[in-house]
């Protein structure tokens, strides 16, 4: 490597297959391919208007766009925040993150019943997302009623090649 300080080198703002790091292991200095390191945790965020929340059972909202061919998403967690409202959503308040093509299989659930807290998505079973599919948010059973808050949904996830 060049005889320069780290900060003098160009900044790599993304991850590219084939990148190599220099490491020390025992008495050996080795190169380590990026594929041997943990995946990059990515963030997706959408703001959902109240009117769309009230139809979120019949019309799920996409949170993460479709994965590239040959890749699949691993959702790791998420939160929901409320804004601009004065009434709680009254029924059908179990929000879930799903693989868009199979919305009946909930992987992560969060309650939107109270607009004064920040619900964290909890994994409730085997989380499966179809390869190449997008991830959407919907609710169980039927459309919510009564509520008037906009939702900001933030999801953290990995992309894995298959």
């Amino acid at each position: 490597m060049a005889n320069r300080s780290i900060h003098q080198q160009p900044f790599a703002s993304n991850r590219v297959a084939g990148d190599v790091f220099m490491i020390d292991r025992s008495t050996n200095t080795l190169k380590l391919d990026e594929s041997a390191l943990p995946p990059t945790l990515l963030t997706a965020q959408v703001v959902i208007a109240s009117a769309d929340v009230l139809t979120m059972f019949t019309t799920p909202i996409q949170v993460i766009p479709a994965a590239d061919a040959g890749t699949v998403y691993f959702v790791r967690g998420g939160i929901i925040e409320f804004a601009n409202g004065s009434a709680n959503y009254a029924t059908n308040t179990n929000a879930m993150l799903v693989s868009t093509t199979t919305p009946t299989a909930p992987a992560f659930l969060a309650s939107i019943a109270s607009r004064t807290v920040v619900p964290l998505f909890s994994q409730t079973g085997t989380a499966s997302v179809v390869a190449g599919d997008s991830v959407s948010i919907t609710v169980q059973t039927g459309n919510p009623t009564a509520g008037d808050s906009d939702l900001t949904v933030t999801v953290w996830y990995y992309i894995q090649a298959i």
């Binding site: 990148d19 967690g77 807290v117 953290w156």
Partner: protein
């Protein structure tokens, strides 16, 4: 400091990483290997780690919060190290949000035996953050004695700024 002049193993240990820590890498650009730098947050994402230790005594709890941020646990693991006099009692790890009106539940259960154990933890559903956006870990023993063993909990988490 020119890197080739010193071995990495000779450097002082950094301890837990900081998301802004810089890393040096090489990338093949049009057939030529070139030097770059990045940082942990950019290359690996915003995940952070925190560790907590329960010495097996009664009444253990610890708050995990950072003013102005929502703590979002992504993955939680624990390692049980047996002590010299296993009690065979059941122990539970609890997690609740920090603040008034806390909600939560137990997130792991294990037995105080003479064997080391890996304990998987899971957030209670639904888990809520209230006014302080942090979480509280606690230990509960179903029995009358302190545990003989100890538990180390590692939480992989992200911080979110409330909207």
């Amino acid at each position: 400091m020119p890197l080739p002049a010193i071995s990495i193993s000779d450097l002082s240990d950094a301890g837990p990483y900081d998301p802004k820590d810089k890393l040096q890498l090489q990338r093949n650009v049009l057939g030529s290997w070139q030097d770059f730098h990045t940082n942990i947050e950019t290359y690996f994402g915003p995940v952070l780690t925190a560790t907590f230790a329960w010495d097996g005594s009664f009444g253990w709890s610890e708050n995990f919060e950072e003013l102005g941020y929502i703590i979002v646990p992504l993955e939680m693991l624990a390692l049980f190290t047996p002590g010299g006099s296993p009690t065979n009692q059941i122990a539970q790890i609890g997690m609740a949000d920090v603040g008034p009106g806390a909600t939560g539940g137990f997130i792991a259960e294990f037995v105080d035996t003479n064997e080391a154990q890996a304990v998987s933890l899971y957030p209670p559903a639904p888990y809520l953050c209230t006014t302080r956006y942090g979480l509280q870990l606690s230990g509960n023993i179903i029995g009358i004695d302190p545990l003989s063993g100890t538990l180390q909990i590692t939480i992989y988490y992200v911080k979110a700024i409330p909207i």
